[in-house]
Amino acid sequence: MSPADAAVGAAAPSADVQDPVVPVPVAPPPAFLPAVPRSAGSGGEEIAFPDRAHYVELVRAYRNAGFELCADLCAVDYLSHPGRSLPDGVEPERFEVVVNLVSLSEKRRVRVRVQVPEAEPAVPSLIEVYPGVDAMEREAFDLLGVRFEGHPDLTRILMPEDWEGHPLRKDYGVGRVPVQFKEAPGPR
């Protein structure tokens, strides 16, 4: 990963507008980086599969390498689809946290997929690296029950406060109300 080139050729109209892209300091990439299994996504972008220990360090390394924007963070429940295609050396777990990073300077995307076991669905929070994941992590916790250690305010964000269960889990029913008319008791 080439160190992030500082400026993007933006025709800034006046001198006092500060450099539009963040001058990120170049930190030496951590030692474990090459060992992280990778594969190529369908859109040609790179996908990394760190384990939970190296997760925050890898995202920090990507950030130092010029990925200024964390576009999206979501969790996926692979309860009823265990056999998904993973590079070797990554054993599938029930939950998976997917982080999408964007590099404005190199116009490139990277996806980081972390396996989260069902027994202890917890992952260190990225709030230190990208403060923008605050609401996304709360939504992942609210809808799928994946806890994010170190998140300052991990409470529900979309569901009412006293709601039991995490709706987007595969073992949570859709909550359909039967609408066949023969089930409605008696004429109105």
Binding site: A10, A11, A12, P13, S14, D16
Partner: protein, 156 residues
């Protein structure tokens, strides 16, 4: 014996008063007669908080700025009250009346200037304006990044 012309002078005011009472009483009577149910439920007496049932008592302390604005209103309200009698007879008073009322207005205005000078009307913090922010138009504040001409496959 009271001189009839003097009493007749106050007849319009009396009529106006009666009309006022009739109108007020009439609307109360109509709403009590025609209004649906009279027992206000708790929601109707509760303060409207955008649909949220407040579980905290509304605070009692208010910053002093709200009070100062009320003071400004009081000043000008009193001034108007004193202008009424003047307005009735200002023709007979001629120049003396005019000068008199101007002096009165100036004195009231001095009170207003004092209030404004020590900050009764500047409410929020100063805007964080960049120094170099000229009076810009919707064209000058933006810059256009045009596509590089040498990109392949550009439509003719």
């Amino acid at each position: 014996m009271v001189e009839p012309r003097a009493v007749a002078q106050y007849l319009p005011i009396f009529l106006l008063f009666v009309l006022g009472v009739i109108f007020a009483a009439g609307s109360f009577l109509a709403s009590s007669l025609l209004g649906p149910n009279k027992k206000p439920t708790d929601a109707k007496t509760a303060p409207y908080e955008c649909g949220i049932v407040p579980d905290r008592e509304p605070p009692q302390r208010f910053p002093v700025r709200f009070y100062l604005v009320a003071m400004i209103f009081i000043i000008f309200d009193i001034e108007i009250v004193f202008l009424y009698p003047w307005a009735v007879v200002f023709r007979q008073l001629r120049v003396f009346g005019l000068v008199e009322v101007l002096v009165f207005a100036a004195v009231v205005f001095a009170a207003f200037c004092y209030l404004v000078s020590n900050g009764a009307l500047n409410w929020g913090p100063g805007k964080r304006l960049h120094e170099g922010m000229p009076s810009r138009t919707s064209e000058s504040t933006i810059s256009r990044i045009t596509a590089e001409p040498d990109r392949p496959g550009r439509a003719a």
